[in-house]
């Protein structure tokens, strides 16, 4: 059961080669199919997640959430998507046209690219890069540029302020995010995500790196512009931040990208700390989604519990608390590795 998808992929390649395609082309076509699958997963995920978030928000606030369309309102998001797609695509007069128009496209493109290195099961990553973690982190910080493009191109003070906040926040929280993951790289000795997951077959890294876990979780919340750290689109102050001028499908693309990022970061969290595909009973490719959704629910829980934090507090929290903590974690991990090696040598 673990190998269903690998078998399907092998079968497709063999089928194509039996039709006379050379191996290169067969592999390329397989890659395209995988891309399509990733896109389908992303869209499906976002549709479910928006519904789930609204439902969770409702439950936390003692409401019922969407419950009109379909059982438990499950078709609400689909109706919203149809509405957004049929809406007029308004381009304000004085925007910087090309930047304004391409920002959401870049954003969704980059977000989907994050999924290429995520291992869904053993050997089930689209591309299993040997610098997968580095690739993931560098790409996820690229989305900031799209937010800045949107804010700058909109030619609107709120948008620009939102974008500036996003950039400041991203630069600030990128540092503890990466520093907190260094401990994991030190322990596993690899930047390849499937190696990191494979190293957790006995002990999940959540037990070995609790400090890194907390640092990563907080920094990731800030990176995603979510929860108490959603300063870039603080609707009470900046209407919708960088997305103020966007309507219809372009706005929906930003929304899609945000949730795509959420899933990607949660999946990375699962791969790094929660043992990835390792787990009893269920097949490998089912464990990752299950764990990811649990992590996402915690993100929702945090978002709908805490009020938004002030911008300067946000900054000082990262520089004064998170970065020292993650540096401390690196030092502790180094000592731990040395001590472990010494004990083993005895």
């Amino acid at each position: 059961m673990d190998l269903w998808f690998t078998n399907i992929a092998n079968y497709i390649v063999q089928l194509l080669m039996s039709w006379g395609f050379p191996y290169f082309w067969a592999d390329l076509i397989l890659l395209l199919i995988q891309w399509m699958c990733v896109l389908a997963i992303v869209v499906l995920d976002v549709i479910i997640l928006i519904w789930l978030e609204r439902k969770a928000a409702g439950f936390i606030q003692m409401r019922l959430g969407p419950n009109r369309l379909g059982p438990f309102g499950i078709f609400q998001t689909i109706a919203d998507a149809i509405k957004l797609m049929t809406k007029e695509d308004i381009i304000p007069n004085k925007v910087d046209k090309w930047i304004f128009l391409t920002a959401p496209l870049f954003m969704i493109f980059i977000s989907v690219m994050l999924y290429l290195v995520l291992p869904i099961g053993e050997g089930l990553a689209v591309v299993d890069l040997d610098v997968g973690l580095l690739y993931f982190l560098s790409l996820s910080s690229l989305t900031t540029i799209c937010v800045l493009m949107a804010g700058w191109g909109s030619n609107n003070k709120w948008s620009l302020m939102g974008a500036m906040r996003a950039v400041a926040q991203m630069i600030t929280y990128e540092v503890p995010l990466i520093l907190s993951l260094l401990g994991i790289v030190m322990i596993t000795g690899s930047l390849r995500l499937s190696d990191i997951v494979a190293a957790q077959s006995h002990v999940w890294l959540i037990i070995m790196q609790p400090l890194a876990l907390i640092c990563y979780f907080i920094a990731a919340t800030a990176e995603l512009n979510r929860g108490p750290f959603d300063m870039p689109e603080a609707e009470q102050e900046l209407t919708a931040g960088a997305y103020t001028e966007y309507t219809g499908m372009r706005w929906a693309l930003f929304f899609l990208a945000e949730y795509t990022n959420l899933v990607a970061v949660s999946a990375l969290f699962v791969c790094l700390f929660l043992g990835g595909w390792h787990g009893p009973f269920l097949p490998q490719w089912l464990w990752i989604p299950v764990k990811t959704y649990v992590v996402i629910c915690v993100f929702f829980w945090i978002k709908w519990t805490f009020p938004r934090i002030r911008m300067d507090h946000l900054m000082s929290f990262s520089w004064k608390v998170l970065i020292p903590l993650s540096l401390l974690n690196i030092v502790l991990t180094g000592f731990g590795i040395e001590i472990f090696a010494w004990v083993r040598g005895l």
């Binding site: 969770a56 439950f59 936390i60 606030q61 003692m62 409401r63 019922l64 829980w301 945090i302 519990t305």
Partner: protein, 238 residues
């Protein structure tokens, strides 16, 4: 050393709410909201009660109300032709209802007032057909009572003599029609008489009023009944 404990406490609170039974939300179209007794839904108008005094129109801060008045033929009496409530400007301040002397205005609990165009939100009360007849009846009734009273007074003059008119008989001995006009229902009459039996000064004043100014007497009687009812109500509560 207790960093983050407050956060955990907050998350515990929201977690508890997440699995609580959701009783706060009324599933509106299927479940109807429970409206309070004094809920102000739509302003309503009783055409029969209106005396076209214009007080409500003057009291309205938003010019919601308007009267269409005609003078009755052969006389100076104002005759109400139509009453218009432009609900879109109403701010539910209740001033018109408070100002109305003849309780022609009241609130009902109808709150679904959306319409497709601006005009149809206006509530227009046209003069009903039976109004002419009703007014004629009332006029006749008044006339009859006035005559009866005059007869009674003249009869009294004959028997008792002119000096004792003001001291006259008690209110309880007045003709039934007068009592009915004073207090309305049988119950109210009983209450009124109880009150008057306790207080002879009021009794005498009211008696004089019946002779001199029936309208004023009516109001006084009504106020007395209301006060008695209120006292009784409050006493019952305690």
């Amino acid at each position: 050393m207790a960093y983050g404990l407050g956060l955990l406490k907050g998350m515990w609170v929201t977690l508890k709410h997440t699995f609580e039974k959701k009783y706060l939300v009324v599933q509106y179209p299927e479940q109807r909201p429970v409206l309070q007794e004094r809920f102000r839904g739509t302003l309503c108008f009783r055409f029969e009660n209106c005396i076209a005094c214009n007080l409500c129109v003057n009291s309205c801060p938003n010019k919601v109300l308007s009267l269409d008045v005609a003078k009755a033929e052969g006389g100076n009496k104002r005759k109400l032709m139509a009453y218009v409530i432009d609900m879109q400007y109403c701010m539910y301040c209740n001033l018109c209802v408070e100002s109305c002397n003849s309780s022609a205005l009241y609130w009902n609990k109808e709150f679904e007032k959306s319409t497709f165009d601006k005009e149809s939100i206006k509530i227009i009360y046209e003069r009903p057909r039976y109004m002419d007849e009703l007014e004629a009846q009332r006029e006749a009734e008044k006339e009859r009572i006035r005559q009866e009273k005059a007869q009674a007074v003249s009869a009294k003059k004959d028997t008792v003599g002119e000096s004792e008119i003001s001291a006259g008989p008690s209110v309880a001995e007045q003709p039934k029609e007068i009592l009915a006009e004073l207090a309305g229902s049988e119950e109210n009459i009983a209450i009124l008489l109880q009150v008057l039996a306790k207080n002879t000064v009021t009794h005498d004043k009211l008696l004089q009023m019946i002779d001199s100014d029936m309208e004023k007497a009516k109001k006084v009687a009504l106020a007395l009944v209301r006060k008695a009812l209120k006292d009784r109500h409050e006493g019952g509560k305690e």
